[in-house]
């Protein structure tokens, strides 16, 4: 049986709800988690911003509670280390379901599908010298053994510069 979990619109304590808003870099958040704000990406000359996108909200089936706890622990330690090393600038999980807005008619549809290999479950914004270094960090992701894949993307800064030069 597959479960489809949707959103719950209200909770009465501070625990997470299966819903509510999530904003990715659209809204600045006050959070002690982040040592740097995203704007810092541009500030270091030899470092680039890389986005690690974690895909796969559909973890390998039949993972035991012990295994899940181990991945949680490992992932926590990994993110903590990256943050302390100044490599991770930000990182957040994304709620399963949201809306997809598309087309000139601004059609709003449900999605992505709750559980899929493609759906993005979270991200980490890295500061790294090269793509190789970012990939090396991505390879350390504790979720890789359990059905998660990591997409590594350079945060493009060239367009802005290129434009500036041509002017």
């Amino acid at each position: 049986m597959r479960l489809v979990f949707g959103r719950v619109t209200q909770t009465r304590n501070s625990c997470p709800k299966a819903g509510s808003s999530f904003v990715v870099l659209l809204k600045q958040r006050k959070s002690s988690t982040f040592k740097h704000q995203p704007k810092n990406i541009m500030s270091t000359q030899n470092e680039n911003g890389y986005m690690l996108l974690f895909r796969g909200t559909d973890l390998r089936k039949g993972l035991s509670a012990e295994e899940l706890q181990k991945v949680t622990d490992d992932w926590m330690a990994w993110f903590k280390r990256l943050t302390e090393q100044g490599k991770a600038l930000a990182g957040q999980p994304l709620e399963r379901e949201g809306k997809i807005v598309s087309g000139k008619d601004r059609i709003v549809s449900d999605g992505p599908f709750a559980e899929s290999k493609e759906s993005i479950a979270g991200y980490i914004l890295l500061q790294a010298a090269t793509l190789d270094e970012a990939v090396k960090i991505a390879k350390e992701c504790p979720g890789l053994d359990y059905g998660i894949s990591v997409e590594v993307r350079l945060v493009d800064q060239q367009i802005g510069r290129g434009f500036a030069v041509s002017v």
Binding site: F5, V8, S32
Partner: protein, 451 residues
């Protein structure tokens, strides 16, 4: 997703960055019980799935925001939200919906669930109800233990398979059958009362005992998982004993027997995984605190005039734990307990253990006689320990050839590496002593010739 600033999470840079051992597994057991109370026991699988989902949510959130201040409450709340959401969506629950929602709302309102005595009772009751359902007499033994491990203890099919030396598919099948049986036979989700309680309680104790033995047996599965089974059996038994319905002398006896044996668990093998005999074990490494707890429950088990086989087994374990070294073991007391135990349990394995006690009291010859006198000894004919015991006793009598023969048979009857290694060593010792004996006797033969 909630906002990081109002989560009560400690940031990842805080000191606590490791979860309490087995937290997920144990919370899963509790939550499945509670959710089963809501969905109904015929939808056990659904409860298990919701709990799994709550754990996955934790995995996806905690790495970034850190461990919540009260992880158990977080998981409970998340499971609750998922359950409510599911109930609202699923047509199946439409009739029951208002009632279910009302119950769920009660779980935890303003305080965190851990502070709420109401919720605590709810969990304990749920746990016990599920325990009684898993151990229902209509379920066969193998279904009982497997289902208890899956639902009450939060083990996965793969982990159970490891402990039982079975394939994951076989365990999964067994689980499906067990859940199906619960539905079809309409096995109730309740704590029995009145006359039924005592009978049903015995069934639960039997399952916990089996669970414990499965873990304690040196012969099965990966050692870490096995030790976990022992701890789980103890945990469930303690839960049962805390409840008015379960607080009986015999359950304290069972707890005592489990604690007093588990206290010696780590010393049963050396660092290379070789089996160590009782006389070779480092008693300073026995878990004294656990022994003390065992003795405490043994005392509690003495209330009333009830004597169960658990009492006798706990008594035997207590004799071993109380002895400061092998030599000072009170074997006569152990033998008298075994003499009573064989009256309860005519298993030839118990009789074999008794024979070892006889040998320690009256010498190896008496021990061998006791083995020969085992009533249904034929059942042991392919049991490697029968020959291992005979080998030991014959070796003590310097019947080295006979002893070696027994060890050889024993070796053929077990596939477990650590046991094979142990038996090989015993066999080798016999052979060396035989060779040495021949060597020593040579001059004598020569001398005889000279005469």
């Amino acid at each position: 997703m909630k906002k990081p600033q109002d989560t009560g999470h400690s940031p990842p840079s805080g000191e606590i960055s490791q979860l309490t051992e087995h937290l997920f597994r144990q919370e899963a057991g509790k939550l499945v019980s509670v959710l089963t109370g809501i969905f109904g026991i015929d939808r056990l699988q659904l409860a298990e799935d919701v709990v799994q989902e709550a754990l996955i949510r934790a995995l996806q959130t905690w790495p970034y925001y850190g461990i919540p201040n009260n992880p158990a409450a977080w998981l409970t709340q998340t499971a609750k939200n998922l359950a409510l959401d599911l109930i609202r969506r699923e047509k199946l629950f439409r009739d029951k919906q208002p009632e279910i929602v009302a119950t769920t709302e009660q779980w935890s309102v303003d305080s965190s669930p851990d502070d709420s005595p109401l919720f605590d009772t709810e969990i304990k009751d749920g746990h016990l109800r599920l325990m009684f359902a898993c151990c229902h007499p209509l379920m066969v033994e193998e279904e009982q233990t497997v289902l208890a491990l899956k639902t009450l203890c939060g083990f996965s099919a793969a982990e159970i398979a490891k402990a039982f030396l079975a394939t994951e598919a076989a365990i999964a099948k067994r689980l499906t059958r067990a859940r199906q049986k619960i539905r079809e036979l309409r096995i109730p989700f309740e704590i029995p009362s009145g006359e039924e309680l005592a009978i049903r309680l015995d069934g639960v104790l039997q399952t916990l005992y089996l669970l414990f033995n499965e873990g304690y047996k040196a012969s099965s599965g990966a050692s870490l998982v096995r030790e976990e089974l022992c701890h789980e059996a103890i945990r469930l038994a303690l839960l049962l004993a805390e409840h008015p319905a379960g607080n009986r002398p015999r359950i304290h006896a069972l707890i005592a027997l489990m604690l007093l044996n588990t206290a010696r668990f780590p010393t049963r093998t050396d660092t290379d995984g070789n089996i160590l005999r009782l006389k070779e074990q480092d008693r300073s490494r026995w878990d004294r605190a656990m022994i003390a707890r065992g003795m405490f429950h043994l005392l509690q088990s003495a209330e009333g005039d009830e004597v169960s086989d658990y009492h006798l087994q706990a008594g035997i374990a207590a004799c071993h734990c109380a002895a400061k070294d092998y030599e000072s073991t009170d074997w006569p007391q152990i033998l008298s307990l075994y003499n009573r135990l064989v009256e309860f349990d005519d298993s030839p394995v118990v009789a074999l253990n008794r024979a070892v006690a006889v040998a320690n009291v009256d010498g190896p010859t008496a021990g061998i006689d006791a083995v020969k006198a085992i009533r249904n000894r034929a059942k042991l004919s392919s049991y490697y320990l029968l020959y291992a015991v005979l080998g030991e006793l014959e070796a003590q009598l310097d019947h080295l050839q006979t002893a070696a023969d027994h060890f050889r048979i024993s070796l053929k009857l077990t596939e477990i590496k650590s046991e094979k290694m142990f038996l090989s060593k015993r066999l080798q010792a016999c052979e060396e002593r035989t060779a040495k004996g021949t060597l020593n006797s040579k001059p004598r033969i020569d001398a005889n010739r000279r005469e």
